[in-house]
């Protein structure tokens, strides 16, 4: 597994908010289903002593850490407070920090990610759906019903598009080891490269589906830093330049980061690129068939 498993205790920051409360319920329902620990503590400043779905809430992350063994955190706080939440968790010693929150100013994210790096914490997101290792752990908001356990890792900048791909894989009988949504912002903590390096060390993962989109060039970095067989898909072939396509990071700027040149570079490195999502399962099967 990468980032966590059944034994990982999860903390939710923003536990008493609408989103936090709702997803603590879903994460713990999944934990119960797979026999994992799930969310063991919540944090909302000023709401210490309350409970959410039976999970105790603390005022600070450090208070929660004194009472529980916590390996990961999921953040649901508003954009203005999210960078601070990332830094609080990193400072308290949490290894994996998943930030679901959208619309965080980039300057705040750069600071929080730099701070987390000093504290040796890995930040997933922001503006992401989190991650799910089927049968082990769910940290975030992915709909677990679509997933099935197996040996294909998935890394994606998207949310629902990831669910679409996972759904296609599951229907085709191809299970997943871990699915990570790294986020749709221009600056994110764990990039394709970081997640790919984790997959490389993960005995459960035999191949990877990489789902990118317009903006930046980190897909190529991710696809070329590993020996694992990869199938990729890049969204935004029809995206016009200088328009933000829903994600803050999905923009073709200064003639850079367009889908067609990304696809061309991936193909040049020998990475197969699907033209449609529905082609992905067959291409993954092909990887396993040729044993490459």
């Amino acid at each position: 597994m990468i980032y966590g498993d059944k034994k990982t205790g999860v903390l939710v920051q923003g536990a008493t908010g609408k989103q936090g409360e709702f997803h603590i319920g879903l994460m713990n329902a999944y934990a119960q289903q797979v026999g994992g620990r799930g969310v063991v503590a919540g944090v909302t400043p000023g709401k210490g002593g309350q409970q959410v779905h039976g999970v105790p809430v603390y005022n600070t992350v450090k208070d929660a850490m004194k009472e529980h063994d916590i390996g990961a955190a999921v953040i649901f706080v508003p954009a203005g407070a999210a960078a601070d939440a990332i830094m609080e968790e990193a400072n308290a010693g949490i290894d994996t920090i998943v930030c679901i929150t959208e619309h965080i100013p980039v300057q705040d994210t750069m600071k929080a990610v730099a701070y987390a790096r000093m504290e040796d914490a890995s930040v997933i997101g922001p503006n992401c759906p989190g991650l799910l290792s089927p049968g082990e752990v769910k940290m975030g908001i992915m709909p677990s019903g679509l997933f099935t356990r197996g040996h294909v890792g998935v890394i994606s900048r998207s949310g629902t598009l990831t669910y679409e791909v996972v759904d296609e894989l599951t229907r085709a009988g191809i299970g997943q080891s871990t699915v990570v949504g790294i986020g749709g912002d221009p600056v994110i903590g764990q990039t394709f490269v970081d997640v790919m390096q984790r997959f490389e060390k993960d005995p459960e993962t035999k191949a990877v589906v990489l789902i990118g989109e317009v903006g930046g060039n980190l897909e190529e970095e991710g696809a070329t830093c590993t020996d694992l067989p990869i199938v990729s898909y890049i969204a935004g072939v029809s995206a016009p330049p200088d328009k933000r396509m829903g994600h803050a990071g999905a923009i073709v700027e200064g003639g850079e980061g367009d889908a067609k040149s990304k696809i061309a570079r991936l193909k040049k490195h020998g990475v197969p690129v699907a033209s449609r999502v529905s082609e992905i399962p067959e291409m993954v099967r092909e990887l396993f068939r040729c044993g490459c």
């Binding site: 954009a79 619309h103 965080i104 100013p105 980039v106 300057q107 750069m110 600071k111 990610v113 730099a114 701070y115 992915m142 709909p143 677990s144 019903g145 994606s156 900048r157 998207s158 949310g159 629902t160 598009l161 990831t162 669910y163 679409e164 759904d167 749709g184 221009p186 600056v187 994110i188 903590g189 990039t191 789902i211 989109e213 317009v214 903006g215 930046g216 060039n217 980190l218 970095e221 898909y233 969204a235 935004g236 072939v237 029809s238 995206a239 016009p240 328009k243 933000r244 396509m245 829903g246 994600h247 803050a248 990071g249 999905a250 200064g254 889908a259 033209s275 449609r276 999502v277 529905s278």
Partner: protein, 361 residues
């Protein structure tokens, strides 16, 4: 959101970076009171939101005698299709050398990236392609308020030391103004010192609120309307309206339309939580675009309630055909509601898109 040149120059001047004496005018006549201060020769620069305006005729030289006439000419022009509503009248500089300085967000290192070259000016993009070795680059630690002097020395090389403070001041502007880009090109050396002859600032759309910017000028009226509802919306030029949930899935739907030979009219991401009221507003917004002949709705999510979505589509009561792909909870009920009213609901995104392309062919 992009700042116009005069706005960017006001910002960097307030930060202590010298800019040429200049005046913003909104009619040719407004030039008259400034003629004395502008000196014998000056420059008139159209303030339009497009790049490459110089080559497109948006920058004209003028002098005391011809000033008003040239201003009239510029106000009468269209620059890359945009009318000229504001002109910056600026003192002409005695340029001895042009430098380039920019600060951007580097996705790879997740830090501010600072670029500097002694080969500045309008041909910077060609320099970047053909002589990348001439452009010096450093990344800065975003936790530091100032650039350390060694980084500035690395950037400068043999360039004049007076540029050093300009680099640090622009870095502070970049941080304090929540910029995604802060650029001075050209940064010029004159007998009277260093000046920013042009400046560009792009502010992070997610920071407009705390920067005190109420309206995002870069958005069209319909895009702004969509923003009020919490949708991401982009106008395109085809005939198939597209509504999806999530940016990636919506983009993939657009791409699929292109794959099957069609053209999307827009991109609307309804975001999380597709309640009937949100869906209704989304469908109506897309249907209000005159070129839209058919609408594809592609919603997927474990927790999306299909009956809610169906109710929203029906309540929108629009004249165009709506083709729906829904996956989530209460799928059967959603399908029943839609088919009762004669809407088509198909199982995969490939099927809905193929159908929509057929309808518009």
């Amino acid at each position: 959101m992009k700042f116009r040149e005069y706005e960017a120059k006001n910002v960097i001047q307030a930060a202590g970076i010298p800019v040429p004496a200049g005046f913003l005018i909104r009619t040719p006549d407004e030039l008259t009171p400034h003629l004395a201060a502008l000196g014998d020769a000056f420059v008139l620069k159209a303030q339009v939101d497009v790049g490459g305006r110089g080559k497109a005729g948006g920058i004209l030289m003028a002098d005391k005698a011809t000033g008003t006439k040239v201003a009239k000419e510029l106000f009468g022009k269209q620059i890359k299709g945009l009318p000229v509503k504001e002109v910056l009248a600026e003192q002409k500089l005695d340029i001895r050398h042009e430098y380039y300085l920019s600060i951007t967000v580097d996705r790879s290192s997740r830090q501010p990236l600072i670029l500097f070259t002694e080969a500045g000016g309008v041909e910077i993009e060609i320099t970047a392609k053909e002589h990348p070795e001439l452009i010096r680059k450093v990344v800065a630690n975003p936790l530091m308020k100032d650039l350390p002097p060694f980084l500035i020395r690395e950037l400068l090389g043999n360039a004049p030391k007076e540029i050093g403070p300009v680099i640090n001041k622009l870095y502070k502007v970049f941080i304090e103004k929540d910029a995604l880009l802060a650029e001075i090109n050209p940064l010029v050396a004159t007998p009277n010192g260093i000046f920013a002859a042009d400046a560009k600032i792009i502010v992070d759309d997610n920071a407009l609120g705390r920067q005190g910017i109420a309206v995002n000028r870069d958005l069209s009226e319909r895009e702004r309307e969509a923003e009020k509802h919490g949708f991401s919306y982009v106008e395109l030029d085809g005939r198939i309206g597209v509504i999806g949930n999530g940016a990636g899935l919506t983009m993939a739907t657009l791409d699929l339309i292109e794959y099957y030979g069609g053209k999307a009219a827009n991109f609307l991401d309804v975001g999380g939580g597709a309640e009937s009221e949100r869906v209704k507003n989304a469908v109506r917004l897309v249907a209000s675009v005159p070129t839209v002949k058919v609408i594809v709705v592609n919603l997927l999510g474990g927790i999306t309630k299909c009956d809610e979505v169906a109710k929203g589509i029906i309540a929108a009561e629009i004249p165009q055909k709506v083709i729906v792909r829904l996956a989530g909870t209460n799928e059967a009920e959603g399908r029943r509601l839609l088919s009762e009213k004669g809407y088509e609901m198909l199982d995969t995104m490939d099927l809905v898109v193929k159908k929509a392309v057929e309808v518009t062919a």
